[in-house]
Symmetry: C2
Subunit: 351 residues, 2 copies
DNA sequence: CTGAAAGCGCTTACAG
DNA sequence: CTGAAAGCGCTTACAG
């Protein structure tokens, strides 16, 4: 009863490590009175296993408190059971935007239900990017969920050629990339809200657009233009430097300066809109009386602004679910294609 | 030159799996003209390796594009090179609070610099909790960073007895737990801001406290009481049901109802304060003229409220750094003790 | 300083 | 349906 006992650590180096070795498959097999192979079979689907063996093994697993050693399993299956969630953004964009957080949480939850784990990686710097590449090349993960909103991201291209399944969130950051993506319909949503502002009778509808190297910056502006065309007021388009509150404030200030007669504004994200509302307030413009304000995202903040923000809802939970589904399909070797999800208008007090 | 080539997948089942087997240590050893053991030694510190061998191996690694197989390594070292970041919170608290996000990002970044990866796990439901336990028991991670603000969390106790290193963020969720923690000085911060409100000449200082099963709820209220004692106005303390904007709105409304003469309020979190400002605004109270408002956290939102929020700064980046340091020490088998980090007052427009 | 060898705990054809 | 055996790619004493 000394051998393999957990209570008396073996002397050969065990003291240094102090890891309690749990029961192995061998132990379970012995208790169940079957071979290691049979135990493995019940673990992996229980095909070709007699009811008696099955029961014996399950009982033995319970008794011994067996839990599979993932390293050993991965070594032979070449599957890690994990995927990387890679945030490839400049630092400053990262910390503020609630959109990423919601996405991350949703992905974690859904993956967990599939018994797959999520390892979070940041890729803001060249060092971090090379770490990501080494990591995925090293077989630590079976695939990657890439969140990258800015064009020309070097990581996307590298990942694309790394040979493992990748799905990107949002419009792919560069042409010629073969990886599938899942995106909300930015352009359609922008059309929706711009049309809505028009339908409220406003005629001088300006916009605070996002940075032009981002999908949100390009697509949402395109949607705005789809609706307004030449009816967009002169100097009615200002680009924010990033998707932050501060940038929204600055852009709105500039807009009021160049286009003081505006009576509505479509702001390309809720975070920007928070800053824009601030600027409007300081300028003495009443929302919605003087100026209608429409946002984009429907993040938690949208309901808490003064007045509450009319905005475009991105179905983030669904985006997450579809990203995971596509990635899991790819990992399983099945084909999967890109998906674009519809956005909807959410009416509140600001427009 | 056929053997081991990546271009022609071996026929035995390789088509199904389609994983390009990268070069192994064996390949590197052959190219370098040394044994596998020597390659391993340069990988693990390069002690007892001659300069020539070292150079040869490094060259061979570069040429072959070798990258270590973590599964194989983990199998023998019993180290995964990863830690779990476990968010043990009810769902509703999770999605909104920026504090967790900042913490998560900071931990990911710091761990990355140590070449350690972070796997994110949610533990809101019993199913998720049991998955976390199975996961850590299975040796997937070397330790866990536990974020759990509510008392009586069953997970904390389970993790505590799981035998692997755990460090918790904030006050430990139950007495008798032996795991170290890293916390911001909630009580001291609350004292700081309450005293500040007093120093502004206000005499009827109320508070919106957090839920009483959370560290923030208990400690920050204690700090408030430390300063005010019996000078706290009657019906001047209302507990929010959780740390959300909506709860802040509700609590402030109740406070105004029960204690209409209040001239200052310490709100136990910025998110709550956003809701409280809303309620004050609707009630026609001017901030800071009629009512001074102080928050807690100094999250990104604090600078964007109207007026900007005077608040208590939690040194989250430092909390993250210390959590990681403590955990890594524990994993390395070195002792480490709990740490409480000082909080500071940040003056803005609301008080 | 270095090589040969054992062993980590699993899965998976291969025979029965 | 089931067992025996090979092998996944590494690390680590053990001898030299």
């Amino acid at each position: 009863m000394v051998e393999g006992g957990g209570e008396h650590p073996k002397s050969r180096g065990a003291a240094r490590r102090a890891q309690r070795r749990g029961p192995t498959m061998e132990d379970v097999a012995e208790v169940a009175g079957v071979s290691r192979g049979t135990v493995s079979r019940v673990l992996n689907g229980a095909f070709h296993v007699s009811p008696e063996s099955l029961a014996a093994v399950q009982k033995a697993m319970r008794e011994t408190g067996y839990v599979v050693n993932q390293s050993a399993r991965s070594l032979v299956t070449r599957r890690s059971g994990a995927v990387a969630f890679v945030l490839s953004e400049p630092q400053d964009r990262l910390f503020e935007d609630p959109v990423f957080n919601v996405l991350l949480r949703a992905c974690t939850q859904i993956l967990g239900e599939e018994d797959c784990s999520l390892v979070l990686m940041l890729a803001s710097t060249p060092e971090e990017r090379s770490r990501v590449i080494r990591f995925v090349q090293g077989g630590h993960v079976d695939g990657v969920l890439l969140v990258s909103t800015h064009d020309g991201d070097p990581l996307a291209a590298q990942l694309d050629s790394a040979g493992l399944p990748v799905v990107v969130c949002g419009r792919p950051p560069a042409a010629g990339l073969r990886m599938p993506y899942v995106a909300a319909d930015d352009r359609g949503g922008a059309r929706l809200i711009t049309q809505y502002l028009l339908d409220q009778g406003r005629r001088r509808i300006a916009t605070v657009a996002g940075p032009e190297d981002t999908a949100g910056g390009v697509e949402r502006l395109a949607g705005y233009r789809d609706v307004l065309g030449r009816r967009a007021p002169a100097r009615g388009i200002v680009r924010a430097t990033d998707f932050s509150i501060a940038a929204g404030y600055a852009a709105m200030t500039e807009l009021l300066d160049g286009c003081p007669t505006l009576d509505a504004v479509f702001v390309a994200s809720d975070l920007l809109a928070v800053g824009a509302l601030e600027a409007l307030h300081e300028a003495g413009r009443r929302v919605p009386d003087d100026v209608l304000v429409g946002g984009f995202d429907d993040s938690a903040m949208a309901a808490a602004t003064r007045p509450p923000l009319t905005t475009v809802r991105q179905p983030l939970a669904q985006v997450a679910a579809e990203m995971v589904e596509v990635l899991l399909r790819l990992i399983a070797g099945r084909p999967a294609s890109s998906r674009v999800l519809p956005t909807t208008l959410v009416r509140r007090g600001s427009a």
